[in-house]
Symmetry: C2
Subunit: 586 residues, 2 copies
């Protein structure tokens, strides 16, 4: 019944096996407007000169340079103006000896003229122009083909098309372009998986991988074909894969790849074609499989979102790059590990939060989408490293280019959130108890900590703002606010400040759903998951719920003593204004 | 007739004026599949717990942890298997004292059980399972809401949606999402501009800016609306802009922005609305204008492609970022200036080639698309710097993420190009004379130089490969190969090796179109721009043209003495193989 992975192979071996025979892309013709981010399928050779005529590069007068050799401020040369050429027009005048033709930037040069005198050095009057400076041959003229010359290789097959490459193609008059197209089918498997457009049934979870993987494929220039959730039965899965491969060059599935019961992808792939490997000695990512069906690659990624995306970047992305003929870019940045980390004896892709140049291991488990959402990058920990020291410098493979202004750690507080929103700050809020928040602040992960005011502070920290918020009962039913006998309360975790207050003020009440934030407390009430919740007045206000004041709650915002940045001061100011507003409104 | 820019303002002032009143984006609802790269318009709060049930995190047996406290390898605990729960199913068994329920990763936890014993530590037989290790409460269980908790702020308005953010939305069951949409009309003006899908008329050039600017807008999350070429007459331009602004939130035009004759955009904008500034003290980018029509931003960029894209990144990109509520990212990298550079006394955006950590000023003029295509980045040179020294370190704003394997400088050679293509190398070929190529090689811009074999080498350079190629006459008409009297020849530049050979072997022939490459020589013949061309046999072969051998031409591939990289050796080997092939085939 229980099947082990028979041979775990290394990631390097897995990449070698997968890349050995990368799928051949198709060639498609697309309009220039749709070419951004795609990969060029052919060498582009200039079939015209650019420009394809000698072109004035300045506004002024087209002249014979030999006429102007002796021109100077003190003795200007006088030329007769015999016509003018506007940009885009075919010249109807030519410049004979002693003659000049008025031109604009971009005009075709008239016959006879070989230079342009800038308008700044020429005074025109009564059909003549006085030239005050000499010009040398071809001065201020962009010669035919000077930019791109007939036959020149302009772009090579395999080029990633960005704005400037698209501009080159436009300059050559190519309104359509051949690109490499790799159609990759994407599906999730598992009876517990539901599409996000359905109502969530009990014991099910929403499909994440289809969306992360197809977005990531788009980012690297492949064409995802989204199939959503494939049924998790042998026959249905076989048929779905076989059908999808008619239309796709490759297939990426996730889930159903471990070796346990009900995980049948490896059997399906073995039976439809050839299973090349099953199981990588990597954390996360062990349950990865790779095979070929009808000569096409089928990759099975782990079901956990973080694992799936990690293996995607490590294994699938190089494969797609190879297939499209792109070089794999291993963008990486250096970061100092902020906290020690104990690894396992296999290669590990360690998710980290990057903040102000330091890397903080962050792992709520690869099953958590939070790990996916909060990790800014990944450190590749070799199999032979057991203990990573704080202060060691590692290469980090970044997962996101977004910079945060601020990381807050500590108690949930809608007052603080609202202030940060008003300041238009990009922040991440790590909701956790006050003690843990102070540690986060001390080791630099957090910029400010939001703690209950009673907390004693270590020497290296300082309070930058303090305010009071009103805690009370939140309910849909005003009667319950007065008599809550038997009502189900939203339960706060005991590591939160509100959790402690709840224990002391409302001991022994019946508890239902657990919440971590004030907004969550109010939502639990709104959705009927709890009859009552303890929470801040602001949270009740978000959905117009009834509120009964019980007590004031003191909050302190804490920063490091040595952190004198403006942003800290600005937050303190924003919260002070709030205190004053509150004082006025009472 | 000639109008000067009245008040040039600084780039910083221009940015301040433009950003002061950034356009408000619309809010659109898109499917998750279309959300990649877009900007979130609302704070996303979890309206469900994720997972929304206690979930087995491993394959194994759901148990009451208290039953297993004493379990060990030597004295396992025996539990009765009372059922099994597959992932996605509602449990139909519960775990009473002394009982276990079989579960898979992702299964809902059955009533009564609070931990999962991994299958590795459990042996099942005859309806019982022997547990060989203790588990603590909630071990191997992902608790309801542990990942995302009801009410938790998951993403903030203004977040740039990448794969992982899209995954978070999917996990919450959001198949549609509100994004910020900024519709930006893009058009070029100028009577000399033609759309790339038309046949090129005399004295016209193809529209580049519409395509570079609209691609760049897509890259930063705006929605370009492509209008192509607007007519360059006052009435038509006024009407086109007014009509476009009905549908768009903002308009970007290029061309017609300088102060010369025929440049009327500033008049149109003044008359339709308000001209805020016209002219920035920046090189390139002086003829930039900014105004408002009906309260909407109208930006006029310079007509030259490099100038237009440079001002786009400096001025428009921050404006779009501000409008969408994104932080402007000033990604920059450090590079050492490889060659001294003399600047002007105004702020200058200097295009550079980045190669192996060094920055090489590269400027064929902002009118050249080559400048656009070859520049990997831009150095912002302050107005007060006149002379930049080689070796100084500057911040470079990168224009492309593509890495080159190789830069070649020197004589055009189809033999070398073909060898590099076979090696699947990403290269840039700077076609220039042998002398210049050796300088490029010495100062590190080029990795190899392709020179005529007769050249003497400086001490620090070495020949890594030599080969002979056959030069001859190329024609569509075989008769001309024997009697070329009066025929028009494609003209090679005199700084090229083939140009010198042409001067000595074919003195006094009539010359038509000028060419820089062998492919160009053959194309000139194919297109009838020349009757005959001197070129390599390989070039004639590309289009099946007739070829008459005239002489052998010796080519040397040169590298730096101290450059011992494998890539140099590989190129040498690839060219040696070719010599042997050639020897065999003769």
């Amino acid at each position: 019944m229980h099947k082990e992975f028979h041979r775990l192979i290394s990631l390097d071996k897995a990449i070698e096996l997968a890349l050995g025979d990368a799928p051949r892309p198709r060639v498609r013709i697309v309009n220039l407007e749709s070419a951004l981010g795609r990969v060029l399928a052919e060498n582009v050779i200039a079939e015209i000169d650019v420009p394809h005529f000698d072109r004035a590069a300045m506004d002024g007068y087209a002249v014979r340079s030999e006429d102007c050799i002796i021109a100077s401020e003190s003795s200007p040369v006088r030329l007769r103006i015999v016509g003018s050429v506007s940009a885009g027009s075919i010249p109807d005048a030519s410049a004979g000896p002693g003659e000049a033709v008025e031109v604009s930037t971009g005009s075709a040069m008239p016959e006879g003229a070989d230079a342009v005198v800038m308008v700044e050095y020429a005074d025109a009057a009564d059909g003549y122009v006085m030239i005050r400076r000499p010009v040398h041959p071809y001065e201020n003229v962009q010669r035919r083909g000077a930019d791109l010359s007939l036959g020149e290789r302009v772009l090579s097959a395999g080029t990633h098309l960005g704005p400037r490459e698209i501009g080159m193609l436009a300059a050559l008059g190519m309104s359509r372009v051949k690109i490499r197209s790799l159609r990759v089918g994407v599906a999730s498997t598992g009876n517990e998986i539901q599409s996000p457009d359905e109502h969530l049934m009990p014991c099910k979870i929403y499909d994440v991988n289809t969306y992360t993987i197809s977005s990531a494929l788009s980012q690297i220039g492949a064409e995802p074909v989204v199939y959503g959730v494939f049924p998790d039965s042998y026959d249905a899965l076989s048929e779905s894969i076989a059908t999808a491969l008619i239309d796709c060059d490759m297939m990426i599935l996730s889930g159903s790849t471990s070796a346990g019961r009900g995980d049948m992808l490896y059997r399906v792939v073995s039976d439809l074609g050839e299973l090349v490997f099953h199981g990588i000695n990597l954390k996360p990512g062990k349950p990865t499989l790779f095979g070929r069906v009808g000569g096409k690659h089928v990759i099975g990624l782990p079901g956990y979102p973080t694992s799936a995306l990690t293996v995607f970047w490590q294994l699938v992305s190089p494969l797609v790059h190879r297939s499209l003929g792109l070089r794999s870019h291993h963008f990486s940045l250096k970061a100092t590990l902020a906290r020690p980390f104990r690894s396992e004896s296999r290669r590990q892709m360690l998710p980290v939060i990057i903040h102000r140049g330091k890397a903080y291991p962050f792992d709520r488990g690869s099953g958590a989408v939070t790990t996916l959402g909060a990790s800014d990058g990944i450190i590749d920990v070799p199999a032979d490293r057991e203990y990573l020291h704080a202060g060691e410098v590692f290469d980090v493979h970044p997962l996101s280019g977004d910079d945060l202004d601020l990381i807050i750690s500590g108690e949930s507080c809608p007052v603080l959130e609202a202030a940060l929103d008003r300041m238009n700050l990009r922040f991440r809020y790590l909701v956790r108890g006050s003690m843990r928040a102070l540690t986060d602040l001390q080791d630099g992960l957090a910029d400010i900590a939001c703690i209950t005011a009673t907390q004693e502070l270590p020497e290296d920290l300082r309070v930058v703002a303090s305010y009071r918020r009103e805690l009370g009962l939140i309910s849909r039913n005003p009667d319950l606010l007065l008599n809550s006998d038997g009502a189900a309360f939203a339960a706060w975790g005991r590591d939160s400040g509100v959790g402690c207050i709840m224990d002391s003020m409302l001991p022994g009440v019946r508890r239902s759903v657990e919440v971590r934030t004030h907004t969550g407390a109010a939502l639990a009430v709104l959705q009927g998951k709890a009859d009552l919740a303890l929470g801040a007045r602001e949270a009740a206000g978000m959905w117009g719920l009834h509120f009964r004041y019980l007590a004031d709650d003191g909050i302190s915002i804490v920063a490091r003593m040595d952190d004198t940045r403006d942003i800290i001061k600005d937050i303190a100011d924003a919260l002070k204004e709030r205190s004053q507003d509150a004082a006025v409104s009472t």
